[in-house]
Symmetry: C2
Subunit: 753 residues, 2 copies
C-alpha cells in the first residue's frame, strides 16, 4: 500500500524536505595518543544542561550533538561549529581521536562519565559489567532524520490511509525495514573500523576488516537471544516489551539496533503518538573528514533512504532481514579491498536512486553521488575502508589516527577568533556564538546577515544583535549616543568633561563665536557627518580668516556645525559593561620597528605574518598595506620601501590609528590607572548605557582622574562598541569580553567560575 | 571702576550672551468679558509642582513661566508654547485678558488662588487686606536676565576686582541703578495701561494716561515710608532688613520695585553668595502682541540694559533716583499722545546704544531697533500706549481687549494638533510636548531636528525620541521589529498567525517551492527592500512561468526573497502600549463621495477644506491632489475631474491607502471587537514591545479572534508607530495616545484622573 507512493508525487515536490540531527562521539587523547586522564573540560560548562556537548559512556568520550537542522548542510555546519568549540576547549595537550575504535587503551584508564544524575552513572556501571568498558568506548556517528512535514502530508494525501499518525508509523517502519535489508551496502561504503589495538578484544580477526563496529561479533550487539521484529510496529512493540519483561534488556535504549525509532521513551507510545523520526547508528567515524562524516556521505545516505521508500516493501521481512544480517556480517568482516559478495544485490537501490533523481529533477550533484556509489561498488579502494587500507597497509593505524587528530586540532586553533563555518559573520558575533556553544546556551541564528541571534536557557530567552545590542540596554540610550549633541548635553549636565564647544545653525553666529576661541586650539566640524568630511583641526589658535573658512567648509556638509576645543593627549577606548570597565585599548597607526637588517617592505611582510592580521575585517587586525598613502608618509619621514631601518627605529605608515588601515591594538587594561576606568564607567552610567565604548583623551595617564579633576575629556560614546579588538591584540594579553556579555545576560547561570 | 569696562572688550565679544526668563500673568475671562468663576483648569494638572503654569494672586489669574532660555527668541518661543497650552486648556467659553488692568470686575468675583500650601494662601489674604483684591489682579510681564558666563568672566578679567562674586554684585547693582534712573523711558515706550474700568480705583485720572500700572499712585506700590537704597548692595541689605524689622514689609517679595535682585531668598545672602540675575517687572501687557510682549521689545530692552552698562555709573544715586522716580510718575500719568517732558534726557542712552552696536558690530536688526526707539521718542503715537490710544480714542477699551483676546484664542484652537512655535517638529512629538507642558512635566529639547526630548519630574528623567522611542522598550526589540524575517520567526514561534512563507537565497530553491504554493494566492517580494520594488502579488494562483518571472524580479532587488501566501481582507492598524491596545485605525484610499451637485474637482476642494488636511505632513491628513495618478484612476473608473457624481457614489482617487497621498483615517477603536485588540496586544507582548503598531489583515471583523482561531494575520509590526493619526481622524472620535505615553513613563504622577 505504501509502494509506488513516491512515484505518484508531482515532479516538483521538494522531495529533499527533511530535518536532520547529528551526534558524533569522540575520545579525548593526549598528543601522545594515550587516553586523557583529566575530567571533562571545565571550559565546557555544566553537563547537567549542555545541549551540544555531553559525555557518552566514559568521562573521556565527548558526545557532540547538533540541534535539529533544516538541511544536511546546516546540520554539518552546526556540527562543525560544535566540533570547533570542543577542540578549542580541550586542555592544551589534548586532541580528539578521529576513529571509531579507540587506540591502545587499558581498561582501568577508562573512567565512567562523572555525571550528576546517579541513575545515569548506575546505567553506565551496568553496561560496563555487561559489555566491558572497552567495548563501550567505541565511537560512532548517529544520523537522525525526520521527513518534511509537507512531504509527509503530500504522501499521506496520496495514500489510502485515514490517520496521519498511522501513515507516518507505516512509512517509518518501511524505511527501517528496508534500511536493515540494505545495511550491508552502508557498511561496505562507509565502514571504517579495520582493526583494534592489542588486548582490545579477547580474540581478534587476523586480517584487516571493513568494520569491526558494524559487525555483530565485534560491534555493539545485544545478547544472541534478543530478537525484535520490524515486520510491523505492533510486533516490534510486543517483542520489545517481552525483552524487557524477561530481563534481556534493562532499558529500551540498550537495544543496539543500527536503526532506532525515535520520539518516545517507550515503544508502546509510538502506537498512540506516532514515530517522530528515525535514528541511524551505523556510521563509523570517517578519519578522512574532520567532522567524521562528509557532506557527500550525508547526502548519499539521504538519497539512499528516499530510494528505499521508492522501492516496494519487503514481502517477508523477518526472513529477509535474517538473510540481510548475514550479508552485513560478511561484508563487515571482509577485507577492506574485497568486493561485495554479490554486487547485483545493490542494483535495485541504485536504480531507485536514478529513477527518483529523474522523477523529481534533482540536480547534477545527486547524479554525481550515484555515479560515485556505483564506482565504489565496482572498486573497493574507493570506499572509506578501502581508502584507509591504502594509508595503513604499510603503516600504523594509531600513528595515522594521531596524525589526523593533530591536523584537525591545529586547524581549529589556527584562527582562534573565528567560529568555523560562520566566518562570514562579524567577528564579535562569532566570538559570542563560540561562547554560547561552549557554555551550553541554546543558540539560533534568526538572521545571519543581520547578526541577529536568539540565545536561551530554559524559559529565559535573549535576543542579541551585533554581539552586544541586547535587552539590557533601553531603547532611547543608544539613540541618544548616536547623536553627538544629545550625548554631550547629557554628559555635561552630569558634570563630566567633554570638549567645550557650541552648536551653530548659522554662519553668522558661528563667526561671532570666534572671540571665545581666538586663543584656543579648536576643531570645527559638521554636526552629523561621520566620515571626517568638513572637519578642520587647529592645533594652534586659528586666524579669523582661517576660522571663517573652516566654518564655511563645515557648513558645506551639514546644516548644523560644532566648534569644539581641541583636546591634546592620547585617545583610549574604554569598554564598559553593566557599570564596570572591562577593557582599555590603545590604538596606534600602522607602523614597523627596524632591526637594522630588514627593509621597510620586509618589516611589513614580517609583521603581516601575524595570524591575527588578515584582510577585509575577517581578522582582528588588518594587514599593513604599502600603497600610495603609506609610501607618501614614508617619503615625508625620509624613507622608502627599501630603506633598512636601524634597530629600534619606529616608522609610522599612516596618520590615522584605525585598526582597519593596519593599525596596532594595544591592550592597556592592566596598565591604565583604575581612576580612569572608574570615570569611564561612571560616564556610561550617567548615560544609562549597559554596554558602552567610552573614548577618552588623556594627556597624562600618570595623573589620577576624578569627577572633580578628570584630567581627561570624553570625545565620544559608542553604543555598539567592537569587542573582538579588545580580545586579540597586537600587544598585551587581550580581554575576553563576549563571555561577560553572556554571563551578564544569564546571571542565573554560574557558567563562569 | 565699572565705567568704560564694556568699551575695553574686544570687538568680536558675544555681547548678547545672556540667559532669559519670562513670566506673564493673565486673567481668565468668559467670552462675555466677565471674570471667569471656575477654578483653575483641571487639564493643567497640579499647581503643587507645575513649573510653567501657575496662578498668581487670584484663582483666575494665570501665571505663565518660561524656563531659563539661551536667547530672547528661545524665551519667547517657550512662552508662546506655554500660552498656547494655557489657552487650549481653558474651559470652552473662556479667554485670557490681553491687558494689564482688568476689565470691569467686582471685588467679590476675585477668588484668592486655591493653593495647597496654607502659607501661600495666608500671604495672599494679607495682600488682599493691605492693598485690596482688585489692585492685586493687575497683570504684568516680568523679564529676567542673567548676563552670559563668558561675558561676565571677560568683563571680570578686565576689571580691577579680585572676587568674581563681588564683581557680579557690582555690575548688577550698577544695572539696577541705571535702570531705575531711566525707568521713565521704558514706561514711555512700553506702558500700556491707559485706564481702569468703573469702581476699580476709589479715585481715577480723568484723562487717559500712559500707564496706571507703572505709576506709583495707581500701580503696585509699597507704603510711602518704605525707602530702599540702591546706592550699594550693603545699603540695600541694610534698608531691607530694617523694613522687615519695622514691619513695613512682611516678606522681602512684598517689595514692589520695578527691578528685583534675584538668586536668594534673603538679601543678606547676596553679600556672600552673589546676585544671580535681575528681574524687571515694569512691563505692561502689550495687547497688540499675542504673548503680551513682542520680540522687538525683548531685544530693545536687552540692548537698553547693555547700553546702561556702557554708560558711566551714577554719581549720587539716591538723589538722582529720587528725581528719576518723579520723571517716571510724570511720564506714566501723562496722556498717551504727550511727548516726553525732556526728550534730551534719553540722548545718552540712545548714544550708548549706537556706540555699543558699532563697537561690537551688531547687525542691522539692532540699528533698526534704535531707529525705531528714536522715532517713538519723537512721535508718541508710535509708542504702545500711543498706538492703543488710536484704537480706543473713539471706542471701548473693554471691547477692544475682548476682541483681541478672542482673536488670540481662535489662533490657538485653529490647528489643535500643532504646538505653536514648534510646527517644524513631528506632529506626534508636538503633541507629546503639548501634554508635557500641560501637565507640568519639565521639558527640554535636546535635539530639535532629531525629535529628541528630555522630560523630567523631580529626579525622574526620561528621554523620548520621535514621540514614543523611550527607556521602556529594550534595545533589541525594535531591532527585531526592523527585520521582517526575525519578526516573523518570533511571532511564529509564539503561535501567532503570520502569512506562511519561506525565505530563499537561491532562485533554484525558490522555484522548487512552486509546488507548495501552486494552488495558492501568493506574494513574491525581496526580503529587505521597503519601497514596493520587486513585489509581485498573485491574488489567484500563478502559473509556473509567471511565478518564475516574479522570483527573478524579486531577486533583481535583493539577495534574499520571500514567498508568502497572499492574505485577503482589510488591513487595520492596532496601536498597543504596555500590553494594552489603545487605538484601532482603518486607512482608506483618497476618495470623494458625490452629492449630485458638485464635480469631482469641487468635491476634492470641499474635502480639502477640513482644517486637519494640509501639506507635507504638517497636518494629520494630507490634501487630496488631482494629479496624473488621480486623473488616471478616475478615467479607469469612467469619470473625469468635471464629472458630477450622483449622491452617495464614492470614487477612489488612489489605489493605496496611505494618509500621505490623501487617504482617510477612520478611528475604529470603539467598533473593533475586543478579541482582536487583545490578540494585537498579545502579539506585541510576545515580541516584548512596549510600544507597537500591529498591522492585522482581517477578512471578517464580525468573527471573534483567539489564539486558537485568530481569523486574521499579522503582516507587520512597527516599532515607532505614528500616534497623531489615531488622534485626529477623518472619521470617528479619535484617540489621544501621547497622554498615555506620558502617564506610562511617569506612573508616579496621577496627572490623568
Amino acid at each position: 500500500m505504501l509502494n509506488q507512493l513516491l512515484q505518484k508525487l508531482p515532479q516538483n515536490t521538494d522531495i529533499l524536505e527533511a530535518t536532520f540531527g547529528l551526534e558524533r562521539e569522540g575520545l579525548r587523547l593526549t598528543q601522545e595518543g594515550t587516553l586523557a586522564q583529566t575530567d571533562h573540560p571545565k571550559a565546557l560548562g555544566s553537563r547537567s544542561f549542555h545541549p551540544y556537548i555531553q559525555t557518552d559512556f566514559s568521562e573521556q568520550q565527548l558526545e557532540l550533538i547538533t540541534p535539529i537542522s533544516q538541511s544536511t548542510q546546516e546540520a554539518r555546519r552546526r556540527l562543525g561549529a560544535i566540533f570547533d568549540v570542543a577542540q578549542r576547549s580541550l586542555e592544551e595537550d589534548q586532541v580528539i581521536w578521529p576513529l571509531s575504535i579507540p587506540p591502545y587503551i587499558e581498561e582501568d584508564q577508562i573512567q565512567i562519565a562523572k555525571l550528576d544524575k546517579a541513575e545515569e552513572v548506575r546505567y553506565r556501571e551496568q553496561l560496563a559489567q555487561t559489555y566491558g568498558k572497552k567495548l563501550q568506548s567505541i565511537s560512532g556517528i548517529h544520523y537522525n532524520i525526520e521527513l518534511g512535514k509537507n512531504l509527509t502530508q503530500n504522501l499521506f494525501a496520496l495514500s489510502d490511509q485515514e490517520d496521519l499518525k498511522d501513515f507516518k508509523n507505516a512509512i517509518y517502519m518501511k524505511l527501517a525495514r528496508q534500511f536493515l535489508n540494505y545495511q550491508w551496502l552502508v557498511t561496505y561504503l562507509f565502514g571504517a573500523s579495520p582493526l583494534a589495538e592489542k588486548d582490545f578484544y579477547p580474540q581478534m580477526p587476523t586480517e584487516l576488516v571493513r568494520s569491526l563496529r558494524a559487525s555483530r561479533r565485534y560491534g555493539y550487539s545485544n545478547h544472541e537471544e534478543l530478537s525484535i521484529s520490524f515486520s510491523s510496529l505492533e510486533n516490534y512493540v510486543k517483542d520489545m516489551e517481552n525483552a524487557l519483561a524477561t530481563g534481556i534488556l534493562s532499558l529500551e535504549k540498550e537495544f543496539y539496533s543500527p536503526v532506532r525509532l525515535r520520539g518516545s521513551k517507550h515503544s508502546r507510545d509510538y502506537l498512540s503518538e506516532g514515530i517522530t523520526y528515525l535514528e541511524f547508528r551505523n556510521f563509523d567515524i570517517n578519519p578522512f573528514d574532520k567532522l567524521g562524516i562528509s557532506q557527500k556521505t550525508l547526502d548519499s545516505f539521504h538519497l539512499f533512504l528516499l530510494s528505499l521508500l521508492w522501492l516496494d516493501d519487503l514481502k517477508d521481512s523477518d526472513q529477509e532481514l535474517t538473510k540481510a544480517r548475514q550479508i552485513n556480517e560478511e561484508v563487515a568482516l571482509a577485507h577492506p579491498m574485497s568486493p561485495l559478495p554479490d554486487p547485483e544485490l545493490a542494483r535495485p537501490v541504485l536504480k531507485a536512486m536514478t529513477e527518483l533523481i529523474q522523477h523529481f529533477g534533482l540536480d547534477a550533484y545527486y547524479q554525481d553521488l550515484v555515479a560515485d556509489l556505483e564506482l565504489a561498488i565496482k572498486e573497493p579502494e574507493r570506499t572509506i575502508s578501502g581508502h584507509l587500507f591504502g594509508k595503513i597497509a604499510n603503516a600504523s593505524l594509531a600513528a595515522f589516527g594521531l596524525d589526523q587528530a593533530k591536523t584537525y586540532h591545529q586547524e581549529a586553533t589556527q584562527a582562534p577568533y573565528a567560529l568555523k563555518g560562520y566566518e562570514s559573520m562579524e567577528l564579535s558575533t562569532q566570538m559570542l556564538m563560540f561562547d554560547a556553544i561552549q557554555k551550553g546556551l541554546h543558540l539560533d541564528i534568526l538572521d545571519e546577515n543581520d547578526q541577529f541571534l536568539k540565545i536561551w536557557h530554559g524559559d529565559h530567552v535573549e535576543y542579541v544583535k551585533n554581539g552586544n545590542m541586547t535587552s539590557r540596554d533601553n531603547y532611547v540610550v543608544p539613540l541618544a549616543m548616536a547623536n553627538k549633541t544629545v550625548t554631550k548635553k547629557i554628559l555635561d549636565q552630569a558634570g563630566f568633561p567633554t570638549p567645550k564647544g557650541q552648536e551653530f545653525a548659522s554662519k553668522d553666529q558661528a563667526i561671532r563665536y570666534f572671540n571665545q576661541i581666538a586663543d584656543k586650539a579648536i576643531v570645527v566640524k559638521p554636526k552629523s557627518t561621520n566620515f571626517g568630511l568638513g572637519i578642520s583641526i587647529f592645533q594652534k589658535p586659528a586666524s579669523q580668516a582661517d576660522y571663517e573658512k573652516a566654518v564655511e567648509i563645515a557648513f558645506a556638509e551639514d546644516r548644523d556645525i560644532l566648534v569644539e576645543e581641541f583636546i591634546a593627549g592620547t585617545e583610549y577606548r574604554f569598554f564598559t559593561l553593566n557599570g564596570k570597565c572591562e577593557a582599555v585599548l590603545l590604538r596606534l597607526p600602522a607602523n614597523v620597528v627596524g632591526d637594522g637588517i630588514h627593509t621597510v617592505k620586509e618589516l611589513i611582510d614580517l609583521k603581516n605574518q601575524n595570524p591575527l592580521r588578515g584582510l577585509d575585517h575577517r581578522s582582528p587586525l588588518e594587514k599593513i598595506q604599502l600603497g600610495d598613502i603609506e609610501k607618501l608618509m614614508l617619503a615625508q619621514e625620509g624613507y622608502g620601501p627599501d630603506s633598512v631601518l636601524a634597530k629600534g627605529v619606529k616608522v609610522e605608515l599612516r596618520r590615522n590609528s584605525n585598526i582597519s588601515t593596519g593599525g596596532d591594538s594595544v591592550d592597556m587594561t592592566d596598565e591604565m590607572d583604575p581612576s580612569y576606568k572608574a570615570l569611564a564607567a561612571q560616564m556610561a552610567d550617567a548615560m544609562g548605557a549597559w554596554v558602552c565604548g567610552v573614548d577618552l583623551i588623556i594627556p597624562d595617564p600618570s595623573q589620577k582622574a576624578s569627577l572633580e579633576e578628570p584630567n581627561c575629556h570624553c570625545i565620544e560614546l559608542n553604543f555598539n562598541p567592537s569587542m573582538y579588538m579588545h580580545t586579540y591584540c597586537q600587544e598585551g594579553p587581550g580581554q575576553a569580553i563576549t563571555p561577560k556579555i553572556l554571563q551578564a545576560l544569564f546571571p542565573e547561570l554560574p557558567i563562569y567560575p
